[in-house]
């Protein structure tokens, strides 16, 4: 009896993975193209940008917050880094004549892009920690402001013609594995390490679970809140630089509504909006579920309108299944 109940427990604890596997099986049966290496890599690269955002926002949700500014931070970081690494021969170059040797220019562009985005996280975190305004509002404000800055900076024109070595960062691969995927994996491992093996991670869980009790237990709630939002914006800023590199241009409209997909991925993966509950494995599963659904519908050639409808139903269905499993054992 014990063994079967252990098995049941295991299954119920990991039901989101079951959903994922189920979806993969269904799609594979429906379309033989699905389970090809090319396609799998395509899924991963497509979802890697949003995946980074999901890894970031998961921390916010764990701490009982939310970050709506991520999509805009993607745009801001993308345009800032793109503006610094345009091909100097391009006539409409944003900073006329700017041509740093690539050994200096590349790091400068990347770091400037990441900094421009990450600052927003620090501000978000400080606002939330010190003024106690709802995370929803603080990050909604940043969302609007960051997008506006990106527009203002570029005058809403795209920044094209980026130098090749920069583009390679987002388009290249190592042993056939796309750089984007490698970076996603590194971030996932790092996020997992942070949450499970550091004090910071334990603090995030505790703050989300009961912030008053966490403070009384001696946790520096404010400092940790700032760190949480800094982390999430850092993820988004890296995603923004990568997106500019991948698409070969920086545009102020990049990443529109990405935060919603990222939050959805984290939520599907079992990160609770009541705070304190969720795992990185679940977030990754959530990202993949969205990726498989998107890709599957695409492969099956479903009409775009019906695609949306089916996608909505599958997302809800996946979470319902996950909850049902939990409910049964509770």
């Amino acid at each position: 009896m014990n063994r079967t109940s252990d098995l049941k427990k295991l299954a119920s604890k990991n039901s989101i993975y079951i959903v994922l596997i189920f979806l993969i099986v269904v799609v594979t049966i429906a379309s033989p193209k699905f389970l090809t290496i090319g396609n799998i890599i395509n899924i991963f690269t497509t979802e890697s940008i949003k995946g980074l955002l999901a890894l970031g926002v998961a921390f916010c949700i764990l701490s009982k917050g939310i970050d709506l500014s991520l999509g805009s931070i993607v745009a801001l970081s993308a345009v800032v880094s793109a503006s610094l690494i345009q091909d100097p021969t391009y006539s409409a170059q944003m900073f006329k004549g700017l041509d740093m040797p690539i050994g200096i220019g590349l790091p400068v562009a990347i770091i400037a892009g990441i900094l421009a985005g990450t600052i927003f996280g620090v501000v978000n975190g400080a606002l939330i920690a010190y003024t106690k305004i709802p995370p929803f509002i603080a990050t909604l404000g940043s969302m609007v402001v960051a997008r506006g800055l990106a527009m203002l900076y570029t005058n809403a024109y795209p920044i094209p013609m980026l130098k090749k070595p920069f583009k390679t960062v987002g388009q290249g691969n190592i042993l056939g594995i796309p750089n984007l995927l490698i970076i996603l994996i590194i971030f996932a491992i790092f996020a997992w390490f942070l949450l499970n093996h550091t004090k910071f991670g334990k603090n995030v869980y505790a703050i989300g679970g009961n912030d008053v009790a966490a403070r009384v237990a001696g946790i520096k709630v404010k400092k940790n809140i700032i760190l949480v939002y800094t982390w999430s914006s850092f993820c988004a800023a890296v995603a923004g630089v990568l997106l500019a590199a991948r698409t070969g241009s920086g545009i102020a409209t990049l990443g529109l509504n990405y935060e919603l997909d990222a939050i959805a991925a984290a939520t599907i993966g079992g990160v609770s909006h009541n705070g304190g509950v969720g795992r990185i494995g679940g977030v990754i599963a959530g990202i993949l579920i969205l990726g498989v659904v998107n890709n599957g519908l695409l492969l099956l050639g479903v009409s775009p309108y019906i695609q949306q409808i089916v996608k909505g139903l599958i997302i809800v269905g996946a979470v319902v299944f996950d909850m049902r499993k939990n409910a049964k054992t509770a």
Binding site: K199, Y205, A206, N210, A214, R215, V216, G218, A330
Partner: protein, 505 residues
């Protein structure tokens, strides 16, 4: 009709991983006060929640006034004439007292609109009847735990139910308020109401109960009239062994001053409190609800700002404005409000235990999980916490066991100065003794302890000195030798001022 108003037959309740009730039979005679006893985690609350429709029993029967009934939710329990005071406060802090009392059954005028005027009047009448002096429009969240508890009692009474269940109603109350509750119970009994009473306080049980049922590990141990039992017999029924001593006080050497508080004030909560705490000393804080004892320790611990005064630790003045600082200075606080300031409900027993000591287990970056496992398990086992495993969410533990985990958290920080606020609230006799001996042991190791307790025997049994408070003022410090129940009550209720003798006598 049989002599029993309520029979619960062969009740089984299975939670994932835990069989909380293993076929319990429970019979209650009409018009009696029936005590339900047992160690923490014995299944008392679970049994009552099954009766209230909060938990659904896995199998079993409920026979009410001779008829078998099914109770699917709280509403149907109310319809069957049962009401309950829950062990954990179930209040909506953002709403007013009258809204809380009439929640879900607000009086209506012309069928749709809520009759706010009547609601307020009814509340006033109810509170007056029960001699509670609380403003019906006050927000629930502004009350102290004790007052919230009194409101919950008033609410349970307001149902005019045939059966009132009280799950540890006095755990947050002081003696005076408890007395008040006993009067209420007396009146109810006179009206023919049946009461099921759960408590870990032995003296109460023998004062007010007619019959006692004991559970252990989800099984019925026995049931008898109170007059056929005494404390020792009851304890051995509950624990399964004899307990030697309740307050294992060791007289240990009192050392240097570690904590000195001078003219400490914090807003309206308390004024001008001064005392010294020495190594090896246990200083008890006595007073009535609202006396400001909790505020004093919270202020020392940096949870609330002080408005005046000085705090010295080991002779050096300290300025502590957050708990993190306090812990670094060797202080530790076990809070009174377990739900709000204590547990992180969704985290595991282990994570809750280690929460205040993470610094100790982090080598700069990485946490040492192995060491955490060993140390937490040691304390949890020592305190006999009843849990399926260490990864169980703490919210699924019984109330008393949650308290034990918090005690373990405090002990794990290895503090120089331990401040405990109602440390044995809701804890069974066996574990109480355990906690008492742990506190005593700490003192004997040269640590200093401040213990707030509303249980007179605990204060008297454990303290070296007793500081008494009345309405935010310190009314005296009594030595162990001079202390007894009457003296403390006098100080606590009348507020002897130092320069002026009580004139009411």
């Amino acid at each position: 009709m049989s002599e029993y108003i309520l029979e619960m037959i062969d009740v089984v309740k299975v939670f994932p991983g835990v069989k909380a009730l293993k076929g319990v039979n429970f019979r209650v005679r009409s018009g009696t006060v029936h005590a339900l006893m047992g160690e923490n985690g014995a299944g008392k609350s679970t049994l009552m929640k099954c009766l209230m429709g909060i938990n659904q029993m896995t199998s079993g029967k409920i026979i009410l006034k001779g008829d078998q009934v099914t109770i699917k939710d709280a509403l149907s329990a109310q319809k069957h004439g049962i009401s309950m005071i829950h062990q954990e406060l179930n209040v909506v802090t953002a709403r007013s007292i009258s809204e809380n009392i009439w929640l879900g059954r607000e009086p209506l005028k012309n069928k749709i609109m809520i009759d706010h005027k009547r609601m307020r009047q009814d509340t006033k009448k109810l509170l007056d009847q029960l001699h509670m002096d609380i403003n019906p429009d006050e927000l629930m969240g502004n009350l102290t735990v004790a007052k919230m508890q009194m409101v919950e009692i008033a609410k349970a009474v307001s149902f005019n139910a045939d059966i009132v269940i009280m799950d540890e109603p006095t755990s947050a109350l002081t003696t005076t308020e408890a007395e008040h509750l006993f009067k209420i119970i007396d009146n109810l009994k006179k009206k023919g109401v049946t009461i099921i009473y759960i408590s870990h306080k032995m003296d109460e049980i023998f004062r007010i109960c007619d019959e006692i049922t004991v559970l252990r590990d989800g099984e019925l141990v026995g049931s008898d009239m109170a007059c056929n039992l005494d404390i020792d017999k009851l304890i051995s029924l509950m624990v399964g062994r004899e307990l030697t001593e309740m307050f294992p006080k060791i007289d240990c050497k009192i050392g240097d001053t570690v904590l000195k508080v001078e003219n400490l004030s914090a807003g309206d909560a308390f004024h001008n409190v001064s005392f010294e705490l020495h190594r090896g000393e246990i200083l008890g804080f006595a007073g009535l609800v609202g006396a400001g004892r909790t505020e004093i320790v919270e202020t020392i611990f940096g949870i609330r700002p002080k408005t005046e005064g000085h705090i010295y630790i080991n002779g050096k003045e300290v300025y502590i404005d957050n708990p993190h600082e306090a812990l670094k200075n060797g202080l530790c606080l076990l809070t009174e409000d377990r739900k709000k300031m204590g547990i992180i409900p969704v985290l595991s027993v282990r994570d809750n235990t280690v929460l205040s000591s993470l610094d100790k287990y982090s080598n700069g970056i990485k946490l040492n999980h192995k060491k955490i496992h060993v140390d937490t398990e040691e304390y949890i086992n020592k305190l006999n916490v009843k849990t399926a495993d260490f990864d169980t969410q703490i919210k699924s533990l019984s109330g008393g066991n949650q308290q034990k985990v918090l005690v373990a958290r405090a002990l794990l920080t290895d503090p120089d100065i331990l401040m405990v606020d109602e440390p044995t609230r809701g804890i069974d006799v066996g574990a109480k003794t355990e906690i008492h001996s742990l506190i005593t042991k700490l003192a004997s190791e040269g640590k200093a302890v401040i213990m707030i307790s509303s249980e007179m025997p605990e204060i008297l049994g454990m303290s070296d000195k007793i500081l008494t408070m009345h309405e935010g003022k310190m009314t005296g410090i009594i030595n162990r030798e001079d202390a007894n129940q009457e003296v403390i009550m006098k100080y606590a209720t009348e507020g002897f001022s130092t320069d002026e003798e009580g004139k009411d006598e």
